[in-house]
Every structure is written in C-alpha cells, then in structure tokens.
Symmetry: C2
Subunit: 149 residues, 2 copies
Amino acid sequence: MFFTMTHLSVGKVAQRCGVNVSTLHFYEKKGLIFSSRNAGNQRRYASSTIRRVSLIKAAQQLGISLEEIRQVFDQLPKFAAPSQHQWQLMASNWQRQLEVRISQLQTLKTSLTGCIGCGCLSMQSCPLYNAKDKLAAEGPGPVLLQRKY
Amino acid sequence: MFFTMTHLSVGKVAQRCGVNVSTLHFYEKKGLIFSSRNAGNQRRYASSTIRRVSLIKAAQQLGISLEEIRQVFDQLPKFAAPSQHQWQLMASNWQRQLEVRISQLQTLKTSLTGCIGCGCLSMQSCPLYNAKDKLAAEGPGPVLLQRKY
DNA sequence: CTAAAACCTCAACATTGGTTGAGGTAAAGT
DNA sequence: ACTTTACCTCAACCAATGTTGAGGTTTTAG
C-alpha cells in the first residue's frame, strides 16, 4: 500500500465528527474506536474512524447504548472499512430497531390523539391511564371520581 | 364534595403505575408530583397523580427529560385533574414533538437505506459520512483512500 | 530556535434518573 | 396486643455518558 490507513490525529477526527477530543478518548477507552500511536505516543486514526463515530452518533439517536454499539462493532474489522456484507448486516439490523422505535412512537402519538379527544375526563377511556393501571379492577368506585380523575 | 381527592397511599400509586415507591419520592422531590400528608405523616395522593405518572413515563419514551416535563406540569393544577383545555394544549404540544422525533428517525432510516445501497465503499455518497464531516473539503485526496474509507 | 498549539495520562467532577439501606414510625391483619 | 407490612427521612450509592483540569510531552508555525 502506498498510503497509511492510520494518519488522522485525534483533533482532526474530533473536528470532522463534531465531537470533543475527550469524547474520542472516552470512546476508545470503551472499545468503540481504536488508534495506533506515532513515535511521540500520539494517537493516529484510520480514516474509517470517522464513519465509526458518525455511526455511534447515529445509533445514539436511535436510543442504542454505547454498549450495544460496541457489540455490533466488535464484529467489524477494527481498522479497515467493513466489507459491504458486514456493513449491510449492521445497517439493516439497525433499521429494524429503528422501525420498532418509530412504531412505538406512533402508537404513543395515537394514544395522545385519543386523549385529546376524550379530554381525559373519563378514566375508563384514557389510553394513558389504561396503559399501566391494570390494577384498577377494584370495582368501579365512585362515579364522580371517575369524571374528576 | 363527598369524597377526598387525596386518598391514595404511595404504595398504591406505585403499584398502579408500575414504578417503585422510591421513584415516586424522587418525582416528588423533583416537583413532578405532589402529595398531602395524613395524621401520621404518610403521603396521600390525588388520584390524578396516576395520570401524571403515566404521562411522565409516556413523555420519557419521547425522549423528553424530567425537567421539560416539570415545566409543562407547572402550568397544570397540582392536585386537580387538568381542564380539558389544558390537557389538550399539553397533549398536542407533545404530539408535535413526537412528530418531529418520528421524522428524524425516518430520515435516519432513509440514510441507512442509502448506506445499504452504497455499501459505503464510497465516502462521497455516504449520507452518514456527509452528515457531520463538513470539513472534508481538503481536496479529493487519494482516490484509493476514498474507496477504502 | 522558540513559542504556541496540540497532544498525553490520570483522576476528579457533572448530570440524569433513579435505587438501596439504615434507623425509626405508622397502619393493618389476626 | 402483637407482629408484620408499609411508610418516613436522609444519605449514600449506581450506571451511563461524558467534561474538566493538572502536570507534562510533542508537533508545528514563524
């Protein structure tokens, strides 16, 4: 090879990813990214690190924890870019999680729509109320209370 | 009124909301819920507290912080159920936030789809890459590097 | 060559959202 | 009545996700 794969300084990566240097140190300690060192012990990153960090940030948006991200990354090559196959596996995996998350939020939104309709003057028909309050089976209780709920 | 609005013990509320008693203490300390006390200094909650807690849990699902929730709650009556108007305001507000959040996730999902297509062998066309790496304008750089990225 | 900027390690701190436990009081079942 | 369960306060702790700072080294720009 005529170029080194590991030539980006930590500051450069930080700048290009829009994160702090300390965050990259942190990610490295957590095993999410990797570096080699130059003669003066400074970190040098493969350029693929930038995509790794972008992926971390993207995945965090999905509510995926750093630990989960690490587990996925552990199946990828540390320094080289992932193969197309690996990449596709990971991406479609995350897409599925994303779909689940979206549909959850949509369910919630629908619930809120129901609540807007009901004005929540009735606890019988409130989807939020009914979500968790499974123990409400203490008998109907005072009618007025239901309306005041 | 012939019934008291504040008659639920902390354990009862916890049970019906599916949270720990300590969580209710915590929420109360944070100003998210309120209680009166009986003769023996034990908390007694208005029944509307159950909906408050359900709302907290629902809003957390949306990625809304407790502090933001508190700010919304601060505009509601502490013990009574919110009026229909107040309730609708809050709900539709949260619905908007929810919509934003959903569309963000959908954008991300689309990005991933693009990535699956490209196999990310090209950093030119990778949406994840392009999301943050605005500083990539250092000239094209080695062609091979782009493919290895 | 020198000064500034960037980098190093390690430890402490910050924030969010709670949980756990000690030491004691109140309420409820039998 | 007595015992068990629930409750009280307060403080300490936990885990995730970083940030900040001290004290020292390396790289880079002029």
